[in-house]
């Protein structure tokens, strides 16, 4: 790591920590999300310095792009106001800060402690590093974890559908009740049907 790289790293590290800290103290969830994007993009730039260009691109596209857009989308969807929680007891906050600082110190000490020659130290920047290598390894040595990851995503998708389905069913029935509300007798009948039917999906999920 040359001096220029070191300076770039320190600047990016300060930006990443600043973004993370502002995410922690911001009152409004949308501000938190935007500061987290700043922190994630700074981390992506650090990946570039650490000879991991493909991971940097994926970080920007998936983390700062897709995942954070999902967060902001949910905030807009629910029309959230500012959080009501920033006033905690001062003493408790100090204790929490101390505990987290101690934890961070322990993590760092544990990470830099390398007894003996347990770790073979390579030549810095990966020699002959190509993006193809990631693909070849992913479908070669790591084929089984790769397939397991796809299974995980499938389970997550099905899980979300199962969690949200009672909500969607209730909304659909409400919409149907609104459409057929021409006569009051019809509306009352639909409302009665809604009460009877609404127990079904929740039972389905429960079992």
């Amino acid at each position: 790591m040359s001096l220029a790289t070191l300076i770039a790293f320190v600047v990016l590290a300060v930006v990443a920590v600043f973004g993370g800290f502002r995410m922690l103290v911001s009152r409004h969830p949308v501000h938190s999300a935007l500061y987290l994007v700043l922190s994630l993009v700074a981390t992506a730039a650090i990946y570039l310095l650490l000879a991991a260009p493909f991971v940097a691109v994926v970080q920007v596209a998936v983390y700062a792009g897709a995942i954070m857009v999902l967060f902001v989308f949910v905030m807009m969807f629910l029309n959230l106001g500012p959080a009501q929680d920033v006033h905690d007891q001062r003493q408790r906050r100090i204790v929490t800060f101390a505990a987290a600082g101690l934890l961070g110190l322990l993590i760092w000490l544990g990470a830099i402690w390398r007894p003996g020659a347990a770790v073979t130290v390579g030549g810095g920047a990966l020699p002959g590093y190509k993006v193809e290598e990631i693909g070849v390894n992913m479908l070669g040595r790591y084929a089984l974890p790769f397939e397991t990851a796809s299974l995980l995503l499938l389970v997550a998708m099905v899980g979300v559908v199962v969690i949200v389905r009672p909500l969607l069913a209730a909304e659909r029935r409400q919409a149907a009740a609104g459409e057929t509300g021409a006569t009051t007798a019809e509306a009352a009948a639909t409302a009665a049907g809604l009460v009877v039917e609404s127990t079904e999906p929740s039972e389905e999920v429960g079992h």
Partner: protein, 105 residues
């Protein structure tokens, strides 16, 4: 001036530990579900940084491949978590975790 790979790795690991601690603080101090989720994302990101630093130290590509699996887990977690958040908000009209106490006696 050239800094050795081991020394620069220690610097990156320090940044990783700081970011992880900020994530822990977010989970411990904040009461808003979405901000807690974002803190968890920050912790996963710190773990990714450590993976890449160690992979560079060893001179292999395995650290970078581990990052992709972490990313997959993060994406799955966010998808399920935000689905739960939407359902909870429709029920309670609030995302304060102190109000999610249905399992408490």
């Amino acid at each position: 001036m050239v800094i050795s790979v081991a020394a620069s790795t220690n610097l990156v690991l320090a940044l990783s530990a700081i970011l992880f601690s900020i994530g822990v603080l977010g989970v411990l101090l904040r009461r808003h579900v979405l901000i807690i989720y974002m803190s968890i994302e920050l912790m996963l990101n710190a773990a990714n940084l450590a993976f890449i630093a160690f992979g560079r130290l060893q001179g292999t590509i395995d650290g970078q491949i581990a990052v992709f699996f972490t990313l997959t887990v993060a994406a799955a977690e966010v998808a399920v978590g935000l689905g739960i958040v939407v359902v909870v908000y429709r029920e309670l009209k609030s995302l304060d975790i102190d109000r999610l106490n249905l399992l408490k006696f």
